[in-house]
């Protein structure tokens, strides 16, 4: 399976980011996808979210990493990946999901 990311223009990425955040309850922008996470932090974030939700919309930013960083920064003030959004609200990267989990606050935050 040759992995060639289809070329996404920055505008397409920006539109996609805006609509995906708006149209889904739980969104995870990650490196890789659910079956093949490409980075430890993305994998950790996905696993934490999957404990509480089975309807996570994942977006693989590797298709256009720089464009996704820019588009995401407008929503979260950050360019780091992964990024989680719940009901349109920026939650954070894998570290905050982990800290929320440790405090038993994750379920409530991501809305069972």
């Amino acid at each position: 399976m040759a992995f060639e990311p289809e070329e996404l223009s920055p505008e397409e990425v920006t539109d996609q980011v805006d609509s995906v955040i708006e149209d889904n309850e739980v969104v995870l922008f990650m490196k890789g996808n659910e079956l093949m996470p490409q980075c430890g932090y993305s994998k950790k974030a996905l696993a934490l979210l999957q404990q509480h939700r089975d309807d996570i919309e994942t977006v693989d930013v590797l298709k256009a990493t720089d464009a996704y960083r820019e588009a995401l920064e407008r929503h979260s003030d950050r360019e780091t990946i992964p990024q989680t959004f719940v009901d349109g609200e920026f939650i954070g990267g894998s570290d905050i999901l982990e800290q929320l989990d440790e405090r038993g606050e994750l379920a409530e935050k991501v809305g069972q």
Binding site: R78, I91, G93, S94, Q99, L100
Partner: protein, 80 residues
């Protein structure tokens, strides 16, 4: 950007903050840091806002000079 510089940035921006910066993975990988920050500035702030305070302190350094951080934020009581 090394551990001390990262800690300094945070401690300058956040009142009475204590930042401990370590390299969680392999020691010579200076791009990924585990950062533990204790500060009274976190009191009454949600966890998301606490993390945002630290990210704001790092500004553009994050992703340009520092690839990624694993952040833990604590108030002084929580850190006891």
């Amino acid at each position: 950007m090394d551990e001390d510089a990262v800690a300094e940035l945070i401690e300058e921006a956040l009142p009475e903050a204590q930042a401990t910066v370590t390299t969680p993975r392999d020691p010579d990988d200076d791009k990924h840091y585990a950062v533990r920050v204790v500060s009274p500035a976190f009191e009454g702030e949600s966890l998301v806002d606490q993390h945002q305070l630290v990210h704001d302190a790092l500004g553009d350094h994050l992703t340009r000079d520092i690839h990624a951080i694993e952040l833990t934020t604590l108030t002084p009581e929580e850190a006891e």
